[in-house]
Symmetry: C2
């Protein structure tokens, strides 16, 4: 069974050093790489029991059985959300309960026990609070939060692990330049990301390593990323390796149905609502490649990319260009969403959750 | 980046305690659970470099970055093979180079660097030798060997990890009772295990946690395991969660093609050869469920199950029974294969590799 390295001294949350407002980071040059912070959160739970409260420990390597479910059989889920620092110095989370619920769905699919929605949100808040000096200044970026739920107990034959670990680590990340340039996507007409009855609809670690090669190959050809088609027909679009996709034609905004093979993105769900607020008709339905190629505007959504315009789409030898710039719906939606997240406009949806400092 | 806990003292391979011939295990009651042994093997390699020789360290938890490729994105492969103790006290491996080659194919698919075939086999030998007192007495079981190749370096955005770890641990396991009773399989008509272009053809950890729930559900209904169908048509059989499948009718033995979605089992390959030696016509081809239900005899092959007869097959409401017992081909093949593995007959194929004690 996994046992984590104990901190040599208990977390000292109020020492002099920690009182400084910001960590020593060059905030102007944030990318999307790991910057280790002070603390991570760890909780454990035996199979058949429930999670009790975990604890903050110094960020660092964990100790785990070579025979654990995650190392041998890929029994693991992750989540991704962000903490935002507002102009008036509050620290806010965007719909963290949605990530907690998604982790529960995933845990059920992978036969794991998950923390409750309440435990999940509380743990996120605690972790962000302990690392608050790592939340970038307003406008410079966000604190990316990465919760993991893994089968940490030892299991030799294929089965669910006897122990699960819920872990949260964080890293400051930069903002994506949304307006300057768009994504250049390649439709992958050969490989599928997910299949019916599989794990495509949950944030299982098993969905990601299999697409790294396809991403690498596309990047080597100058593309930003890959757009996958459905495994059942090979005719309909599904999603990009780490974000959902929308197409716009006239007054209609369409996005693929979350019918089991694509991730129900929290940004996707929020953008759907904002587009309706703007008077667009939003359809969740099957979208063929033909329709994709005839769209006026295409954009992607996700916690990392927020809302990002697609500039070009390539399918076999055909390459189409989409509308870009200030007048596009994606620019409007990006601005609406980030204004809410940064606390620049009133949050009438009840999406933002403030962390008591 | 991952750093492994260093042993407090260097491995002492020749101390008095180690000189005892057998470890303190109740050899009569071996199952398929983990029995920790003395040593494991660990080697590391940075992305873009090659593996150099690893080392034996005491078996125990490893230390790994919470941000590693394996914990977040399922970047990991495993292998499974066995060491056999012969009546004349030699210790033998069965075709270990095949496992090494399969790990290379998998590493390529998941953008990892793999040890060479030679390094792989050498490391296996070293690990078994260091744990030789854990190899069960002849007839009591085998030493199961579990090599892992994992993305151990830290990576935040989805990409290949900057460091890989090759690790081998072992555990004594019992023999499967092949003749007493057969498998009762359920054809899963809803869920697929793999899809074209996916990782079904390699021993990626990502193929296993997604099927645990289906196995659990089948077991709750009294079945031994699940037989999956192909994702493309849903009409042809592929494989069971951890073994390959064969059907027999008259003089023809058939097994599904390894065309990208099923694991090319080493037992499958060996059994194919032995069946040909027995004068059977062996076909690797698409096999429909209809044909499966009309077969005379059905059996599964794999390192863990060796060759095991299927007693019943259930598809929707239809349940068929197959030939069982001493006269079946599977009984013959099981005996031929295990006689080679145990050193009871001459190994004319060059399959067995002896470990110099
Ligand atoms: C495959 C995939 N699709 C879509 C998304 C977008 O989801 P969300 O908006 O919840 O971040 C993600 C994760 O960010 C993802 O990994
Ligand atoms: C999915 C799957 N199929 C088949 C097999 C059989 O392969 P082998 O005969 O090499 O053990 C295994 C592993 O044992 C497996 O995991």
């Amino acid at each position: 069974m996994a046992s984590f390295v104990q901190p040599s001294s208990s977390p000292h949350l109020a020492s002099e050093e920690d009182e400084q407002k910001y960590a020593n980071v060059n905030w102007e040059e944030l990318g999307f790489g790991l910057i280790p912070t002070d603390y991570m959160y760890v909780a454990k739970c035996k199979q058949g029991e429930s999670f009790s409260e975990g604890k903050l420990v110094p960020y660092g390597d964990i100790s785990i059985s070579p025979c654990s479910g995650i190392l041998n059989y890929g029994q693991g889920l992750f989540e991704g959300l962000k903490a935002y620092r507002t102009e008036d110095e509050r620290i806010m989370l965007f719909r963290p309960n949605q990530n907690g619920l998604r982790m529960q769905t995933g845990a059920d699919k992978l036969c794991m026990t998950s923390p409750s929605e309440e435990q999940f949100v509380k743990a996120i808040k605690k972790t962000v609070l302990a690392n608050k000096k790592w939340v970038p200044p307003p406008g410079k970026g966000t604190l990316y939060i990465r919760p993991l739920l893994i089968g940490s107990g030892a299991v030799l034959g294929i089965a669910s692990a006897p122990e699960f670990t819920f872990l949260i680590y964080v890293s400051p990340v930069g903002i994506y330049q949304q307006t300057s340039s768009g994504l250049n996507l390649k439709v992958d007409h050969q490989h599928r990301r997910a299949h019916s009855g599989g794990t495509g609809c949950v944030k299982s670690c098993t969905n990601y390593s299999p697409v790294v090669k396809k991403m690498q190959e596309a990047k080597a050809l100058g593309f930003s990323d890959v757009l996958f088609l459905d495994a059942a027909t090979g005719r309909n679009i599904e999603e990009v390796s780490t974000c959902n996709i929308f197409i716009v034609k006239g007054n209609v905004v369409s996005t693929p149905l979350t019918s089991g093979t694509i991730l129900p993105g929290i940004t996707r769900k929020s953008i759907t609502e904002l587009a309706r607020d703007l008077g667009y008709q939003v359809q969740e339905r099957d979208i063929s490649v033909d329709e994709l190629l005839e769209a006026e505007e295409v954009f992607c959504t996700g916690t990392a990319v927020v809302v990002q315009a697609v500039e070009t789409m390539t399918f076999h030898d055909k390459k189409v260009k989409y509308m870009m710039g200030e007048e596009t719906l994606s620019t409007k939606l990006h601005s609406m969403l980030t204004s809410i997240q940064k606390g620049l406009v009133e949050d009438t949806k009840g999406w933002m959750v403030e962390i008591d400092l």
